[in-house]
């Protein structure tokens, strides 16, 4: 009996401290942060819990408020909503260009302190408009915009390798490490106008205002310094062994192109010391398929040639990224950290990079020659 009473008291005295009913929650899906006139403007994209399936209601509601700090601004939002802001499902943190150039780390401090924030939260910089405006843009029907951005970044990374998703925990842990600077995803909005908020934007077959996924941006000391272009981004992904399934266009004769799809990519880094200089060897192993071929004659020799050209192209991507690193003086490739991990006495000395790329093309698809080839053959007959 005593035990039962103790259990009941434990439950009654300690229970219910974080009790909240679902219909009293404003589920935040994205947070946008702008910096205007020495004040943070925080906007939250909240999932609309009242919309029914048939109605034309928007799936999201955007609230925004200003404050000296981000938390101050978040609390000020409560003057506009009756429900509790629930942060457990934030999937995107969108920073405006100005905030990112000012300091990304100042923003992240709050989110690292929260216990209920998801570590998988993506952070990104919006290039051309305010973060608040990105949140208001409606995307293709039935998909919540934040979900749309998350999926789009993943797909672009998988299929083209021209971007990379940045998680909150990755960003802050890279920031805290020596000799490595984190990168951040970049998005932008195409054709922003006031109509983007309306349902009319998504009812047309070709929405005028769209959220576009760009490449990545590099940081230094927690501040955004420069944007990378497509080639440099692919190079970055090759060096960090983050290439999944990309396509590389290769010129096969004077006017025509062929495409090589990379189905498997593996980058291994080796470090050797030679006469007081460190040598980093990038061993890149690629497996690819020919998915498009518009020149004449396909045979062993041509395939060898294509392999060679792919190799040169990949090396070119990597060199672009390495060159960018030298100009900007930001350690976003993390090569110095590689050396530092092996040699603790390392003190910012110079190093050299050697690229060893192996390309293997083993499949040609359903047709064995090119269509052009076949056409010639039949004409000759």
């Amino acid at each position: 009996m005593k035990k039962i009473i103790i259990i009941i008291f434990i439950l009654l005295l300690t229970g219910c401290y974080n009790y909240r009913e679902l219909n009293n929650l404003d589920i935040i899906s994205s947070i946008g942060i702008d910096y205007k006139k020495n004040m943070y403007e925080v906007s939250v994209q909240v999932l609309n819990g009242k919309q029914s399936k048939d109605s034309e209601d928007s799936q999201i509601i955007v609230y925004s408020a200003k404050g000296k700090t981000i938390n101050d601004a978040l609390r000020n939002i409560y003057s506009k909503t009756s429900k509790e802001l629930y942060r457990g499902h934030v999937s995107n943190l969108i920073l405006s260009d100005k905030v990112a150039k000012n300091s990304i780390v100042n923003v992240l401090d709050l989110f690292e302190r929260y216990t209920d924030i998801r570590d998988e939260m993506n952070i990104m910089v919006v290039k051309n408009v305010d973060a608040k405006k990105v949140l208001t843009v409606l995307t293709t029907e039935k998909i919540v915009p934040s979900e749309y951005i998350k999926l789009a970044i993943n797909n672009k990374h998988l299929k083209t390798g021209a971007t990379s998703s940045t998680r909150l925990d990755e960003f802050s842990s890279n920031y805290l490490k020596k000799y490595i600077d984190p990168v951040i995803t970049v998005i932008s909005v195409d054709n922003y106008n006031k109509k983007a908020k309306n349902q009319s934007n998504i009812t047309s077959s070709n929405p005028k205002t769209k959220i576009i996924i760009n490449n990545i941006a590099i940081t230094k000391k927690g501040k955004l310094v420069d944007y990378l272009n497509k080639k440099e981004t692919i190079g970055y992904n090759f060096i960090t062994n983050n290439i999944k399934n990309i396509m590389i266009p290769i010129k096969c004769d004077k006017n025509n192109y062929s495409s090589i799809s990379i189905i498997k990519s593996n980058t291994k880094k080796n470090i050797t010391k030679n006469n007081n200089t460190f040598l980093i060897t990038l061993n890149i192993n690629l497996k690819g398929n020919i998915t498009e071929y518009n020149c004449n004659n396909i045979n062993e020799k041509v395939i060898k040639k294509l392999e060679n050209k792919t190799k040169i192209k990949v090396n070119n991507y990597i060199n672009n990224a390495l060159f960018k690193q030298e100009i900007v003086d930001s350690e976003f490739l993390g090569l110095k950290r590689m050396i530092y991990l092996i040699n603790n006495n390392y003190n910012n000395e110079n190093y050299k990079v050697i690229i060893k790329t192996k390309v293997n093309i083993n499949r040609k698809g359903e047709i064995k020659t090119s269509l052009k080839d076949k056409n010639n053959e039949s004409k000759n007959k």
Binding site: L11, L12, T14, G15, C16, N18, Y19, R20, E21, L22, N23, L25, I27, S29, L47, G49, K50, Q51, S52, Y86, G88, H89, S91, D116, R118, V144, E147
Partner: protein
């Protein structure tokens, strides 16, 4: 003697006393077959002009003739449907009992797809006969006892002499001899009076299936047959006996493993789902995918009660419906279930009192618990279901952890007649796993449960 009987007749008008010359014939017309008395007693007595008790023993055609010694025995036999003949102070009893029982019919509470369909009845003799029919062995021991100062109910302890665990047998016999009752209504009276444990877990199987009874007897368990009770108590019982079903041994054994896994899953589902739903939606929303959370929150919109009240309303009304459905006559039963389904399902949702997802949760949990055909077991699931719900409503997933630990403590500390209730999972017995969740029918052919038998090999 006769005068005493005449006095007794004043309070029981169905007692008949017939006088032929110097022979008194006494019987209860409610318990006796009048045709039997006419054919085998009255006719011979008048035909052969019987005068003394010697003639009766020699000339009356009956297999069950008893010479009665004292008054108590006389009354006992009289109440058992015997006819008493008194000649010159000699008292002789005749069996002329009438069949007051329903005939053997299909088992109503324990359904099977394949296998024998016969079931125990209210008749004590038939019940024992149904077991004897299946085990034609000298080792089948039937120990009879009479319990109940007023009801004088016959109960018998049935076991296999060469298989049973003697310690267990002694314990049960000792417990039965201590029973002090005036009336035995059902076999549950016997079970409750010999059960010393304080647990809500059912430590017995009460079955109406003779095939299950003889299967378990051959495993070394003990059956208690109680007069006037169509259920037979089988002791001891383990947790996994409720997961197994006698049906499993009548079908292709290779598929049974999956069936048993489904039973285990539905056991867990029926206990934990309402609690888990409450925990996730009111405390740990972060553990759901965003799209599911939106879906739940849309359904919750406009419901006036807190989730826990909603769940309790649904659970209680479901239990009311279930109780009403078992008590209601079969004829009105269908209209009852229509009303129940409409009121609980459609109307409550469209009135905005209950969210649709809550109905799904309670329905899944309740349907899963009905996989088990033992009513005691279903009630045991119900108690833990509510406990999980309450713990979850106070501290969320953390409460589910605490309640799971309490549940496991309760389950593993339970003893069924000094045997561990969760055998063979804990204490772990590798060999017994061949008939636990995984079923290897060859094991059943050759060996028995190690824990409760003294004779493991079957042949």
């Amino acid at each position: 003697m006769i005068n005493k009987l005449y006095k007794f007749k004043e309070t029981s008008p169905d007692l008949k006393i017939r006088k032929l010359n110097n022979i008194y014939i006494i019987y209860f017309e409610t318990l006796c077959d009048i045709n039997n008395i006419n054919d085998f007693i009255l006719k011979p007595i008048t035909l052969f002009s019987i005068k003394n008790s010697k003639d009766i023993f020699n000339k009356l055609p009956n297999g069950n003739l008893i010479s009665v010694k004292d008054e108590n025995e006389l009354y006992e036999l009289l109440f058992n449907g015997f006819t008493i003949i008194i000649v010159n102070k000699d008292i002789i009893a005749f069996e002329t009992r009438i069949e007051l029982n329903s005939s053997i019919s299909e088992a109503t509470n324990e359904k099977v797809i394949k296998g024998p369909k016969d079931a125990f009845t209210e008749n004590y003799q038939i019940n024992i006969g149904l077991i004897r029919k299946r085990i034609r062995s000298k080792n089948l021991v039937i120990k009879e006892k009479v319990i109940g100062t007023s009801s004088k109910t016959k109960i018998s302890i049935i076991y296999m002499k060469d298989i049973v665990n003697n310690e267990l047998l002694n314990k049960i016999e000792k417990n039965i001899s201590k029973i002090n009752l005036d009336y035995v209504a059902n076999s549950n009276y016997i079970y409750e009076s010999i059960d010393k444990s304080n647990n809500i877990l059912p430590t017995n199987i009460m079955t109406e299936r003779p095939d299950l009874t003889s299967f378990l007897l051959m495993e070394g368990r003990i059956a208690l047959v109680v007069e006037n009770s169509p259920e037979i108590v089988i002791l001891p019982t383990f947790f996994y006996d409720f997961i197994k079903n006698i049906d499993d041994y009548y079908q292709n054994s290779k598929n049974v493993t999956i069936t048993r896994i489904i039973r285990i899953i539905s056991f867990v589902i029926s206990i934990i789902t309402p609690g888990l739903y409450i925990a996730i939606t009111t405390f740990n929303q972060e553990s759901l995918p965003t799209s599911v959370l939106i879906n739940f929150s849309l359904q919750r919109e406009g419901v006036p009660f807190p989730s826990i009240i909603e769940a309790l309303i649904m659970l209680v009304s479901f239990e009311i419906l279930r109780e009403a459905d078992t008590r209601i006559p079969y004829v009105i039963g269908t209209s009852m279930s229509i009303v129940g389904a409409l009121v609980l399902g459609e109307a409550a949702v469209s009135a905005g009192l209950i969210s649709p997802i809550m109905i799904i949760v309670i329905a899944i949990s309740s349907v899963s618990s009905f996989i088990f055909n033992n009513n005691d077991f279903v009630n045991y699931i119900r108690i833990w279901k509510v406990l999980f719900l309450l713990f979850a409503s106070f501290t969320g997933i953390y409460g589910i952890y605490i309640c799971s630990i309490l549940f496991l403590i309760n389950l593993t500390s339970c003893k069924s007649y000094s045997f561990d209730y969760t055998y063979p999972a804990s204490p772990f017995d590798l060999e017994a796993q061949k008939d636990n969740i995984y079923l290897n029918i060859k094991y059943i052919f050759n060996k028995r449960n190690k824990l409760i038998t003294k004779n493991v090999k079957r042949r």
